[in-house]
């Protein structure tokens, strides 16, 4: 019954021709898959180049023009390397885990709209693989599967470091998933819909969500970093503590799959940030790309715009990775549960109240006063939040883990019961 509803929901609304629909879906599948995989391969090179440039080095520049063929060389190397299986590993899960880590990142792309629709002689072609009206819920469901690959990899390796990495990752990803889901509720409140196409359209015709909902974006950004296990949240991998964490025991192409999964997750999270908060494929400051006629040129330009936004966030990922050190485990947990989650919940209440108030005052959605009200609230909230973050020592260093009253209380306790260990000298 549910499957039937899903299938009906997945069928695009205006779709007169059946054959072109299938043909173009196949073409889109192949195109998106190819671009995505090649892009992910090139991102491994981009990461090495950016890390090199940040550290005043040159980076890989031996294979091909400026090292452009380095991913190919890496791929060949990984295919011909020896596959090792630890003697005590649980082999079926050990083999399954890399695929489980990789597939959710890939599947998420099915619902992300990457360009404006194209209306040619074959009817309207949506530039999204599966234009589901429940796209956002699909993303939430699929992205929570990503943790299984890492946990199973850590457990099935039968290695203490792998297990620790897997445990850390499960705790981390489950904690931040909640904050991540909560941070997107304001977006849904504004759009009034869970279809990603509708969310993009709402942002195109009104304002980008990042201007209305900066704090939600901030929470989503931090949670997305934690979800993808990227620095400063790479505790599951933690080279300096856990060798390579959950993938310590993996070799050759299985290791490579984890690597690909990390970058694939990164691209997917970047695409989500662009779609939910930065208007998706919308070209800013103009409505030209959002209205009919939907020509091929508009599709092409909006695709470029979307790619630019996604690549910017991918760059941000790398930039932050090569800047920030890793969090301690207690810092990670306190940031997730004690800051991001309450903040996200409070923000939902604040935004919902504001929207209801503005609605009841008679301002129409999308009108200038409605968004002016939201933006004013947003500026105030951002200023308050960042002043609090600045003063409040969010990520606490060891010397300020307790607040001052607590320190004083503990000191009083310790001095009250102070008894000299050594007898007083007799003289």
């Amino acid at each position: 019954m549910t499957m039937l509803a899903l299938l009906q929901a997945a069928t695009p609304s205006s779709e007169p021709h059946v054959l072109p629909f299938f043909v173009f879906t196949a073409i889109k599948l192949i195109a998106v898959f190819t671009v995505y995989m090649v892009g992910v391969a090139l991102l491994t090179l981009a990461e090495r180049k950016i890390s090199a440039w940040i550290q005043d080095r040159h980076g890989p520049n031996r294979v091909g023009w400026h090292g452009l063929a380095q991913p190919v060389a890496d791929g060949i190397k990984n295919f011909v390397k020896e596959e090792t299986y630890p003697a005590a590993a649980n082999i079926p899960l050990f083999v399954l885990a890399p695929a489980l880590a990789f597939i959710p990142a890939l599947v998420t792309w099915a619902v992300i709209p990457f360009a404006a629709p194209w209306e040619g002689r074959w009817g309207r072609i949506e530039m999204v693989l599966a234009p589901m009206p429940i796209g956002f819920l699909f993303i939430l469901a699929i992205s929570s599967l990503g943790v299984y690959g890492i946990v199973l990899a850590g457990w099935s390796s039968n290695n203490k470091y792998s297990l620790l990495g897997g445990l850390r990752s499960s705790a981390q990803m489950i904690s931040y998933e909640i904050a991540m889901g909560m941070s997107t509720i304001p977006v849904l409140l504004l759009a009034g819909n869970v279809s990603l196409t509708k969310i993009v359209n709402q942002q195109a015709f009104e304002t980008w969500n990042v201007l209305n909902l900066t704090i939600a974006f901030f929470i989503f950004l931090v949670a997305a970093f934690a979800e993808t296990n990227r620095l400063p949240f790479d505790l599951p991998e933690a080279e300096s503590e856990l060798i390579a964490g959950y993938h310590s025991e993996y070799s050759a192409m299985k290791f490579s799959l984890f690597f690909i999964a990390e970058y694939a997750n990164m691209v997917t999270a970047s695409a989500l940030m662009a779609t939910l908060f930065f208007g998706g494929w919308d070209i800013p400051f103009t409505l030209w790309d959002n209205v009919a006629p939907h020509t091929g040129l508009k599709t092409f330009l909006t695709l470029g715009c979307f790619a630019t936004k996604v690549l910017f966030f991918v760059f941000l990922y790398m930039w932050i990775r090569w800047t920030l050190p890793r969090f301690r485990y207690d810092q990670l947990m306190s940031l997730g549960w004690k800051l991001l989650l309450p903040l996200a919940l409070g923000y939902i209440v604040a935004i919902a109240t504001t929207i209801v108030t503005l609605d009841s005052l008679g301002f129409a959605r999308g009108s200038v006063p409605f968004h002016a009200g939201l933006i004013l609230l947003n500026i105030a909230a951002v200023v308050i939040l960042f002043v609090l973050l600045d003063r409040g020592r969010v990520i606490s260093p060891a010397y300020s883990r307790l607040d001052k009253r607590e320190v004083d209380r503990l000191r009083a306790v310790s001095t009250a019961h102070r008894t000299p260990l050594l007898p007083e000298s007799g003289d």
Binding site: W53, H58, T323, R393, S414, T415
Partner: protein, 165 residues
Amino acid sequence: MAIGVKVVERPIHDTSYIRATLTGMAHTLKHLLTPDRVTTQYPEQKESISKRWRGTHRMLTTEDGKAKCVACGLCPTVCPSNCIKLVPGEDEQGNRYPLVFEIDEFRCIFCGYCQEVCPEEAIHVGRHYENAEYSREGFVYDLERLMAQTHPVCEMWDPADPKGE
């Protein structure tokens, strides 16, 4: 007695994570945009090496293409790592010459004593460092190979001219 942990009161600009993060990101971006790279792109560019660099050997030759070596036996005697093998021979005029002259560059410690001790200025350590071979045997240089080397030779330290001027 309780341990007195010293808690230092630090000003906000020392403890704020937000400020530290932003400063750090500005710093890395600065390096990304205006890099100061000091890497030598090795096979294309090479670092200049010292005039006194002691690398793999070279046997100098006379004008008629024969080795200057007179097989006096000083270099195998002085060699601390015992890597020079010399079998002397003598021609019809009574001139001594090396029948076999081999240096095992794998055993050599590149002290340069052989060059210093040589009365004929025949054997020299060279200003050269790219010596890869596919086998250990490849590192045993015979007389022909020593004579075929073309790289510049080391200028030994001269007590009369300590700064090499």
